[in-house]
Symmetry: C2
DNA sequence: GAGTGGTCTAGACCACTTC
DNA sequence: AAGTGGTCTAGACCACTCC
């Protein structure tokens, strides 16, 4: 009886390319099947490496995708946790004011993230100057405490960026949304200004990737700030 | 008393974290200052490594960001090339039909990429079934050659995904855009179907990251196919 | 077959959080 | 100080393109 002796642990020859993609799907399945529920902590990276027999590069690539998806959240020095986006429905609390405002914010994320990316690639120097002016005006208003004017100044900043994206449809929709925007009141202005600056500098240096990331961060933070206020 | 024994070849004078981000900005500056112009080939990764004194990980991270930004394009086995998004203006060819259609496609990219990501997180099983039906109907139409119906069937597929995103604003805008959509004619149907399948499977398994990527790929490819047709 | 990008591994050191 | 994620290095092998 001749058994072909293979010293390998097993004929596990899966030259599978894209181990990260596979890991993503396996973790998503654990979330889908309730093995992992919102709030749960994922195993530490070293454990995931051993469990799936892959290197840390693969684990981190998978976790980064799950972060970008909004499925999990990673906290430096603590761990990675499952978020509660799926499962509790399309935030069907009720058709009230809060829910409507959040939906508007979600719409703006889709539009303005793309707008910021295009503006970084296409803005003229003249348009950049106008955006800078709007930003300075907004900061001046905040310093003087004329909060009532801040809403329209904030909108103007976003609208000027839309006009720098070189696509009039974006401008049209933004203008139609003007009356639906959440009024700014007692919001942590320093955070907003810092986020605006991040968006501006990315557009200034033509960094589309950073512009998109900065705009997304700004709008998701705005959503969180609004929800925090609404719950009070 | 513990002596930290670390073999240091030399005094590393740059403990700089985020080398990739720095590399991105340096390459963007070369594009901005016309040292690199659209169509130019970047040095191969090994050369960039040596030139900047960083590992390949850093180089590849930087190039991936520049790809995501639309600043460069990488071709497997060939090289990385500078794209011409910046500098030649907001595609100010003229206000003709072609330009308008492209702007609509850009708007759809912003909206539908976000829609696909949300749909992957929120879709119900019932909604998934409806999307599957629309996809099958579309394939049947393509097989039978009833190209005239394909446009509305295609729109229906996209609309059903929007309805699965749990935000009625997205649905409203999509419906308003229905009449503005580019009619499908003599387009490479097999590619479109394959791209639709990619979007569907990502939404099916709740992979928001993949859903976004698949939708973006589908719509940018649609734009390229349209432009190719328009130039004929 | 040579050249170039794509994926993966193993390990080192840094930064943040908690005890 | 211990634990965990963040960044970076060096090197191996695979996949695609072109000659």
């Amino acid at each position: 009886m001749t058994t072909i002796s293979v010293d390998e642990p097993h004929r596990e020859q899966k030259p599978q390319r894209n181990l990260a993609q596979k890991l993503v799907q396996e973790i998503l399945q654990k979330i889908e099947s309730k093995v992992l529920v919102p709030g749960d902590k994922l195993p530490k990276e070293a454990d995931i490496m051993q469990e799936h027999g892959v290197s840390r590069t693969v684990v981190r690539e998978a976790l980064q995708r799950l972060q970008a998806s909004g499925n999990v959240e990673t906290k430096h020095g603590i761990g990675t946790f499952v978020l509660n986006n799926k499962g509790q429905g399309p935030m069907d609390l009720s058709f009230d004011y809060v829910n409507d405002a959040v939906e508007i914010l979600e719409l703006r994320i889709g539009l303005e993230v793309e707008i910021a990316g295009l503006a970084a690639l296409r803005r003229t120097d003249e348009q950049l100057v106008e955006i800078r002016k709007a930003l300075d005006a907004l900061r001046a208003i905040d310093r003087n405490g004329h909060v009532s004017d801040a809403g329209s100044a904030d909108f103007n900043f976003h609208l000027l960026i839309a006009k720098s994206a070189g696509n009039h449809y974006f401008v049209d929709i933004m203008q139609h949304m003007e009356n639906s925007l959440v009024p700014r009141k007692r919001i942590d202005v320093s955070h907003v200004n810092h986020e605006h600056e991040e968006v501006y500098t990315a557009i200034e240096r033509g960094d589309s990737y950073a512009a998109r990331a900065a705009m997304r961060l700004h709008l998701t933070n705005s959503r969180e700030r609004f929800l925090k206020l609404a719950r009070q």
